[in-house]
Structure formats: C-alpha cells, structure tokens
C-alpha cells in the first residue's frame, strides 16, 4: 500500500513538472531573470520589489495572442504612467517553431513598438512556475509579491463585444487600494508550445 502511495506521488510530481499547477491568487509569485529579445539584456523580476506588476505570457505565432497585442500595448502605456511594470514573456519552444526565436521576437517587438521587455522563457520554466496554459495568459502581482489576478486580458478580442475587462479591472482595483473584484478568469488562447 505504501509503495503504491509513493508511486502515485511520483506520478503526480512528474505531471506537475511537465505542466505546473496554476498559481493560486494569494500565492507568492515566482521570480525570474530572462533575456530581453529587444536588447539582449537580462531582465530580472523580483516579486516584492514594491511595484505593481503585470506578467503576460504571449508569443509570436498565436492568432489569439496577436489579436490582443494592440490591447496589451494600449494598457501598458496607460498603466505605466501610474507606476505599473509590464513584462511580456514568450514561453514557446523555438526549436519546434522558428518564429519564436529571439531574432523573430525582436523583430515583432521593435516593429510594433512594445513599451515593455519581451522576454524569452527558453526552457518554458517560468511559464511552468506560474502554471500558465495558453497565450495570452495574464498575471497581476502586487508590490508585496503576491498574485492578485490571473486569467484573460478581456473576455473578447473584439472591442465591440467586450463585456468584462479582466486586466484593467484588476489594476484599477489595486491602484485604488481595494481587493480585486474578479480575481480569476478563464484564459483563452493557444496552448503553450512547451520546451520538453
């Protein structure tokens, strides 16, 4: 019986190592230090740095992520002036999809004027640590390093069909010193192309 229990535990750990459990709201956010495709420099995020931060897992190839790109840029410009830091992270495996290489990421970010670093999560480890599933998948972390929101940017990529604004709602609540009214939403998009 004990052997069976240990075996099941090992299977569970192995599964968790492949795709992490999604980080729970209220949990401490994982730190990361990743290369910024735009300038080749390493950008480090240390949760608890006192800044309200947005981590967006996105990529070059996913049409749904690309549909949200202008909205993420718009929100970054809007909220950076209020002291919010944005990090865009591409966790897709470039050995399977050349369009996810640093060079392609740089071309996309500079071509569209990303007002935030575009970081390469080359081994998908950061996405696993956050439990991200799809692109785009959004996380909001408060100044103390605690996750306060996870899910979608908005519930629709079409502005005329938008009913709820997950990311901006969370940022507005936190900037007003209030608890986030809608802490988790369903992130839709393309499955992350994991580095195995």
């Amino acid at each position: 019986m004990r052997k069976l229990f240990v075996f099941l535990m090992l299977i569970g750990l192995a599964a968790a190592a492949c795709i992490g459990d999604e980080l729970a709201v209220g949990a401490k956010a994982p730190q990361f230090a990743l290369v910024n495709a735009i300038d080749g420099r390493t950008v480090a995020f240390r949760p608890g740095d006192g800044k309200l931060s947005v981590v967006v897992f996105t990529c070059n190839q996913c049409p749904y992520a690309k549909a949200f790109e202008p909205r993420i840029i718009e929100l970054a410009r809007q909220y950076q002036s209020k002291g919010v830091t944005f990090y865009a992270i591409d966790p897709n495996d470039e050995s399977q999809y050349a369009v996810e290489s640093l060079a392609e990421m740089k071309a996309r970010a500079t071509g569209r004027g990303y007002p935030f670093p575009y970081l390469k999560d080359g081994d998908s480890a950061t996405a696993r640590a956050y439990g991200a599933r799809v692109t785009p998948h959004v996380y909001v972390i408060d100044g103390g390093g605690t996750l306060r929101y996870r899910g979608y940017v908005d519930d629709s990529a079409k502005p005329e069909e938008r009913r709820t604004t997950g990311l901006s709602n969370a940022l507005d609540d936190l900037l007003a010193g209030k608890p986030v009214s809608n802490q988790t939403t369903r992130a839709f998009g393309c499955t992350i192309k994991w580095k195995s």
Partner: protein, 159 residues
Amino acid sequence: MRRVIVSILFLAASASAAELRDVRDPAKIKDAFPAAARLRVVNIWATWCVPCVAEMPELRAVATALWPDVALVGVSMDDMIPEATRSKVVAFLDKQKISYTNLYYRGNADDLAGFFHFEGEIPVTIAFDRGGKEVWRHQGAIKSADTIAELRKLLRRMR
C-alpha cells in the same frame, strides 16, 4: 448489407461541401445532433489552433467508423479572432473532407467554456448520451484508435 448501405450513405454525404451553421447560444448546440445518434460528440476547435488542425483527420476517422451510432458536431471558435471569416472555416473543412455538422460559434467564448466546463484550452472533445449527460471527455488532440475504442466501450455499456 446494412453496413454497406451505411457506408455508401456516409460516402455520399462526405462528397458534399461542409455544412457550417451559425450558433450564438451554447444550449442550442445539442439541437444539431440527429435523433438516432446514441452518443453525441461535441468537438470544440478553431482553424488557428495547431493541435485542433492536427486532430481533424483523427476526428474524420472516428466519424466514419462509428456513424450513425455516434454523431459528431464540431463547434468552431474561429470567430474569437477579429479577422475571422466563415469562408475560411468552410474551405478548411472541405479540404479536410469533414462532412459531419459544424457550427460557427458567434457568442462569447466565456459562455461557451462555462456551458461545457472547460478552462479555455482547445481542442476539447466531449461525448453525451441521448439524455444530455456527459459520459466522456478528452482535453487536447484525440487519437482516433483510442477514441473509437473508448466510444465503442461506452456504446456497449449503453445496450
């Protein structure tokens, strides 16, 4: 003899262009199934979804092997993308020789996910019995051999 007739009817249906009807209300999706089907399989997908595209031949194989006991209905979520068009989905289905009913979902994605209890990742494939009770589910791309075996097992249990 019955099998030969069924196969001929299926091939005749396969030769026609893909049918793609609009749907806004997730609750209406069940109306697309033929009354005779003992198992009703919903596949939620999009042409922009890499694993969804990869599994299309597998779904076609399942539909061919198990029709008419099992009926498939595809629900395209292409319309989530602002530049999506129905014609692109029809062309894709024709190219893939998909002849089972497909629906073009025009409602809110969150409503669809809430109705079918999935977390936003597609493809997802769900089987229901005649009473509308969920009896099987697969998240991610299916493999036809495994899915045919699973659905046959369910059909045997329903006898």
